[in-house]
């Protein structure tokens, strides 16, 4: 069983990835895939979740239009009681963080979060997740639990194309006391001045820059690429770039960054504290053993100026 997730009337992309994982699992073990939709008007999501491989849609009408943890926890709990699914899959999303562990604790079912691979070994479900900051992988099993609740990492499973016409059933949702009440969304602030914590793409420079006059070349490149310029502490300390550009412990965390391009940054603990969580990090450094490479997704052992010079020609 998959629990669909939606926000502001839109099904989240992660839900389709989770459905894809469920369909893959069903083929391995001869099961059926049901998608639970909890919404004020569940029928609005019937089309988007009717992708190939889905056998059934279970609708539960709830009195809120957005996610509420008590309601989700109680209704999914009842659904599991009624339907006894072997596996319940959720996205490893902020909303799931808010109720999946509580649900697992309530049911004492098998439970693992941030899983990126699932398989069956005989009758045992085996889930793989990361440990020690992605440096290790761990295989978990759930000895003897009838139901296993899993939250799945995003961008691992590819959504399946193709439509289906699953059976639609209605689930009589219990009345749940909601102990939290949402009062509204707050949009991300559009930064008038530069706010690197909001930047999606960052280009940062470090000590390797050597001279103040070299900063401009990288500002220019960042500008051409549509990236926000950041720096490591020594650069801000020298007064070459404003402190508002400084990434790290003394400085800012680039919490919304998806791609981080580090030029001439060796990777001090202070700096990495502000950017190590970024999903894609490209590090350029002459020192092949610079610490930054231990957290980078792509390592480029080269002179930062040469790479910048070359890169410029790709972004006119």
């Amino acid at each position: 069983m998959v629990v669909a997730e939606h926000r502001r009337g839109e099904l989240t992309a992660a839900t389709l990835e989770v459905i894809a994982a469920a369909v893959e699992l069903k083929q391995a073990k001869d099961m059926t895939v049901a998608v639970a939709v909890l919404a004020r008007d569940p029928s609005a999501f019937t089309d988007p979740v009717s992708v190939a491989g889905v056998d059934e849609i279970v609708n539960a009408t709830v009195p809120v239009s957005e996610f509420q943890n008590d309601i989700y926890e109680a209704i999914v709990d009842r659904m599991i009681d009624a339907r006894q699914p072997a596996v319940v899959l959720l996205p490893h999303s902020i909303d799931a963080w808010g109720y999946a562990p509580a649900l697992a604790a309530r049911r004492q079912c098998g439970f693992a979060t941030d899983v990126f691979a699932l398989k069956y070994d005989g009758d045992d479900l085996v889930a793989t997740r990361a440990a020690y900051g992605e440096k290790m992988h761990v295989e978990l099993d759930f000895c003897g639990k009838d139901t296993v609740l899993i939250t799945l990492r995003s961008n691992i499973y590819k959504p399946i194309g193709g439509a289906s016409t699953p059976a639609v059933t209605n689930f009589e949702a219990p009345v749940v006391e909601a102990r939290t009440v949402a009062t509204g969304f707050i949009e991300p602030e559009s930064a008038g001045d530069v706010d690197i914590s909001q930047a999606e793409f960052m280009l940062s420079v470090g000590r390797g820059i050597a001279e103040e006059d070299n900063i401009e070349q990288f500002e220019e490149l960042a500008d051409a690429m549509g990236f926000t310029l950041g720096c490591s502490r020594p650069i801000a300390d020298s007064g070459w770039l404003p402190k508002s550009r400084q990434v790290g412990q003394s400085g800012k965390t680039v919490s919304n960054c998806n791609l981080y391009l580090a030029f001439g940054i060796s990777g001090s603990v202070q700096h990495m504290a502000g950017m190590k969580h970024v999903p894609k990090i490209i590090a350029v450094n002459t020192d092949a053993d610079a610490s930054i490479f231990t957290i980078a997704s792509y390592g480029v052992v080269a002179d930062m100026f040469e790479i910048a010079e070359e890169l410029k020609n790709h972004f006119d």
Partner: protein, 266 residues
């Protein structure tokens, strides 16, 4: 208002580490410990509440871990709070978030806590689960990934902001008592003063076991967990993919990665 703040030391490893003989975890000799980053923020939030309301608020850092874990508690006490609690027993080894949550929930009950502020997740295993498990065991209201907290001692409700995906936030009102998990950036954690570090050494640190809290061995450790580690292994490819060739060739590859990530908008 009594605030319980569960903190933990997180372990990090280098590439050349070795596994334990049973292959289910890293040889402890290769683990380097530090206080979980998220816990710096949850503790800071507690310290600020304490400073704002004085004697009306008591804040207690607690941890589940062996003697070395006291270092994390002392770090907290150097910034504020008057006492700390550490829970340990060999039976707690290999506890998952559920098993740890049982201990913390028992502590919260014993202390008559009104609020539990936990880190959203820990940087070593990243379960993002312990806090919400505690809430369920206590039967309290809860909210995860809190990026702003507004609460007064004795109030029936707290107003919090949750940080959602893509920078969007949601404001919600939460019934008290509650368990909240705190997100990075909710505040700017302070550094302990040298005087604070000295004073922390003298503050009382109570050590108890799960048995003292009324838990059975079967409720903690692996038997009290909702999953079991089969094996641990180093992923096949190292973290970084090395981009090779001449600088022009390397730059061409970087440009391709960048353009793919930005949707070729540039």
């Amino acid at each position: 208002m009594k605030i319980l703040v569960p903190v933990k030391l997180v372990a990090s490893i280098d590439e050349d580490c070795e596994l334990r003989e049973d292959g289910r975890d890293v040889d402890p000799d290769f683990l380097d410990y530090e206080l979980n980053e998220w816990d710096d923020y949850s503790w800071e939030e507690a310290v600020r509440l304490q400073e704002a309301h004085g004697a009306e608020v008591e804040i207690i850092p607690v941890t589940v871990g062996p003697a070395e874990a006291e270092d994390g508690l002392r770090r907290c006490l150097a910034k504020g709070g008057e006492r700390a609690i550490r829970v340990w027993h060999d039976a707690l080894e290999a506890s998952d978030p559920m098993a740890v949550a049982r201990v913390i929930a028992k502590l919260a009950k014993r202390e008559n806590a009104d609020l539990v502020l936990a880190g959203t997740l820990s940087s070593d295993h990243g379960f993002a689960a312990t806090g919400m498990c505690v809430a369920s065991l206590l039967g309290w209201a809860h909210a995860a990934v809190v990026s702003r907290l507004d609460i007064s001692p004795g109030a029936e409700r707290a107003t919090v902001r949750r940080e959602l995906e893509a920078g969007l936030e949601e404001e919600i009102s939460v019934q008290c008592p509650a368990v909240l998990t705190i997100q990075l950036g909710i505040n700017e954690p302070r550094y302990a003063s040298l005087r604070g570090i000295k004073q922390a050494k003298a503050k009382p640190l109570e050590v108890v076991s799960h048995i003292d809290l009324g838990l059975e061995d079967a409720e903690v450790g692996e038997s009290g967990s909702l999953s079991r580690v089969r094996r641990m292994f180093a992923p096949e490819r190292g973290q970084a993919e090395l981009i090779e060739g001449t600088p022009a060739e390397q730059a061409a590859r970087i440009a391709a990665i960048v353009k793919q990530a930005t949707g070729g908008a540039q």
